[in-house]
Amino acid sequence: MTTPSRGSGPVLDVRDLTIALPSGGDRKEAVSEVSFSVERGEILCLVGESGSGKSVIAQAVMGLLPNTLPVTKGQMLLDGEDVAKVTTERLRQLRATRMSMVFQEPMTALNPVMRCGDQIDEVLREHTALGPAERRRKILDTVREVALPDPERIVQSYPHQLSGGQRQRIMIAMALVLEPALLIADEPTTALDVTTQAQILELIKNLQARHGMGVLFITHDFGVVAEIARRVAVLRLGRLVETGDKDAVLKRPRHDYTIMLMGAVPDLKPHGRPIAPDQPIVLQTKKLEKTYADRGWFSARRVVHAAADVSLEVRRGQTLGIVGESGSGKSTVARCIVRLIDPSGGEVFIHGEEIAHRSHRALRPLRRKVQIVFQDPYRSLNPRRTVGEAIIEGPVNYGLSRAEAFERARRLMDLVRMDAAALERYPHQFSGGQRQRICIARALAMEPELLIADEAVSALDVSVQAQVLELLEEIRERLNLAMLFITHDLRVAAQVCDHVAVMSQGRVVEYGPANEVFVSPQHAYTKALFAAAPGRDFAFGRA
């Protein structure tokens, strides 16, 4: 075995890497002839939409690929040593000491029944000959270095006692405790809220600068790329389409695909479309409230305010955005308005008719007027019913004949730019973006007056997201719909909304025209939220 030469040359040099896909997939290779390198002390961002093969590359470098995805060609040189050819034993030595990885989901990447300190200790015991006292000192040092408060308490905690951001810091501490030359971060902030994300990105940048390691950072979020990368490599369907310095790739992209992607990244500046005055109010909520109470027999009653004192209004032809981080109560409000859950207090008016406290029977005639599109396109359609059945279900419930309903469905497929032949097929034959179009068609089949989009584009890739946003915008204009747009993504909100309500911990902390809220936020939370938006001052695709 050759001793790795440290010091000169790139930390990771991937040459002509090709990884086969099992037969029957939609393409032959997961990764095709990909070459790039990560220099010492730089952050290289590997970006691409879902299915581009970016995570497969990360797993290949770490030697974590399942047998069904064999490396068929190429080299992955870690300090000059090809990790594709080393023995399992050597690979085990290399992990943690020379390269380590931080995963997307801090919730599941840590062992729930082991104290955080013990999990870091495991790495040390496995790879070093340090005594207990030295190990303990090193663990505390590392925990301090990832800026966790009260390290003594943190190492004694179990993962569930920590927040998502804290858990991700523990993951980073584990990855860095042996000072590897290469850190692979696979979407490490995707599961985190934007303010936490900003802190973790800052942390990774600082640690990288301090230790001078190479970082391979995998993400689909161009805001994050703008925030953290020195160089960028863009993947499309397993092939590398463009590599270069951050500014060159993001501001002056050369490849058509990159140009298209950059064009699809929504701008953080509000669209500035004039708001038509004096339109009738479609939706109004007054002091809407939803509380969950824990009614234990022996314990004290615990009350959680999922939403409190929410007063909003949406007029015809306008879009109100509700933005906030996870747990802010934005989806609770949407679900109360659709009456998927029953509000605990306050009132909801649809065209002046109160619906918050009607019985389900009395509510039925009004259900038609409010329709909702959900986040997850893969779970929003019943897998056992055809697309056509899904779209006609609502109208048939309200007395339309099947023939008439199918006629309407065909018109709607045209409106959402899909082929009418799709009506006969089952949902699993469609991609995420197509499914979301089908869900929009299903909602529109009811001829609603208010369309609620609950994170409707959050699960989609940026280019598909741009198409669906464009479609929603066109529909709103054409049908003069009122729209309630719920999102955690400030960029999307800026593009779509006329008014914005910012929610935090169940309350609306700021509410006003999008132009005002985005340009001069008043509330401290709104300011913090906007400050944390990754890549906020970056001009994508415009140099």
């Binding site: 939609d26 939409e49 879902s50 299915g51 581009s52 499309r236 369907l237 058509d256 695909y257 298209m260 064009g263 699809a264 990244v265 929504p266 701008d267 659709v338 998927l340 039925r364 259900r367 038609r368 409010v370 329709q371 909702i372 959900f374 986040q375 997850d376 779970r379 929003s380 359609l381 019943n382 897998p383 056992r384 019913r385 899904a390 279900e393 609502g394 419930n397 309200y398 730019r417 082929d419 032949a421 799709a422 097929r425 699993h428 034959q429 469609f430 991609s431 973006g433 197509q434 869900c439 299903r442 009811m446 890739d461 280019s463 598909v464 741009a466 198409q467 946003l469 464009e470 593009q495």
Partner: protein, 312 residues
């Protein structure tokens, strides 16, 4: 996003606009080796059951004092109902009353398969109804599930013996007796499936489309529970075949003159040392049948419900 050009996005986007070809579930099921093996054996057994009269059998209840306790392969004579004496080769031997074990085993296939299939069907249908109601209509949940817990607390064999003792021993009684202890298991399974499926956005979408509760239960939730239920059904079928044999063997199942594998074994038990074939041959049939049903169930589970297959 000012100069957006949707066509351009659609062309370059990674998501292709075509509708994907796909392999249907049925094609996947047919390719599975376990499904083919288990299904093949069961198909053969069903054929045997249907064709029993033409497979060289005689009336399985007919006995002849002159042909008692014959070893397999011996030829003897039997008196038919019309009083004719016929020569007959006892391929599997005869029992202590002079009945042809070959005929009894072949006819016994009918009883076993019938009991297995009907029990599975009955307990699935009833279990699905209770499970759907318990899972979807929350205020009935506690009531239904406590009753189910109660049934589950009594050993299956005891319920069966009690029911058969209470009524007359007949095919219907035996099927009901075996189905009752299975119902709570199906109910629990369906209830747990319903509890997850009811949270799916497509169910919420159906609510906001104004669909009625029965429609949501039967056309949105029920079809999505089918895969695990088919698998569960095969396991109920296998266990019903076994329990029927146990009940017959214990003498509390079908009347002894009816040819079932359990009855044949019970009858042969006394002379097991001198004539082991009386117990051995129906035992082999029973084992093969239960094994085939279980293999089929495993194959269906792997192909219909990959998530469940990984868990087990």
């Amino acid at each position: 996003m000012a100069a957006t050009d949707i066509k351009r996005y659609a062309e370059l986007s990674v998501e292709s606009a075509d509708i994907r070809p796909h392999e249907s579930t049925w094609q996947r099921v047919r390719r599975s080796g376990s499904v083919r093996l288990g299904g093949g054996v069961i198909a053969l057994l069903i054929l045997i059951a249907i064709a029993a009269p033409w497979l060289g059998t005689v009336d399985p209840t007919m006995f002849d004092a002159g042909s008692r306790d014959l070893v397999p392969g011996k030829t003897g004579e039997m008196m038919t109902d019309e009083g004719d004496l016929v020569k007959h080769t006892f391929w599997f031997g005869s029992d202590s009353l002079g009945r042809d074990i070959y005929s009894r085993v072949i006819y016994g296939t009918r009883v076993s398969l019938f009991v297995g299939l009907v029990t599975a069907l009955v307990s699935l249908v009833i279990g699905i109804l209770f499970g759907l109601v318990a899972g979807y209509i929350r205020w009935l949940d506690g009531m239904i599930m406590r009753v189910m817990d109660g049934i589950m607390a009594i050993p299956a064999i005891l319920i069966a013996i009690a029911l058969v003792a209470m009524w007359r021993a007949s095919l219907t009684t035996v099927i009901i007796a075996i189905a009752i202890p299975e119902i709570p298991r199906v109910t629990r399974l369906v209830r747990s499936l319903v509890l997850t499926i009811r949270e799916e956005p497509y169910v919420e979408a159906a609510i906001s489309l104004g669909s009625s509760t029965p429609k949501i239960m039967f056309s949105h939730i029920l079809p999505n529970t089918i895969a695990p239920l088919v698998v569960q059904g095969t396991f109920i079928c296998a266990s019903a075949i076994l329990i029927e044999s146990i009940l017959s063997f214990l003498g509390v199942g079908l009347p002894p003159e009816i040819p079932t594998w359990g009855n044949i074994m019970a009858e042969g038990r006394i002379q097991f040392v001198s004539y082991p074939h009386n117990v051995f041959i129906p035992g082999v049939f029973l084992t093969i049948t239960v094994l085939a049903v279980n293999i089929l169930g495993d194959g269906l589970r792997d192909t219909l419900d990959p998530k469940m297959a990984k868990r087990l």
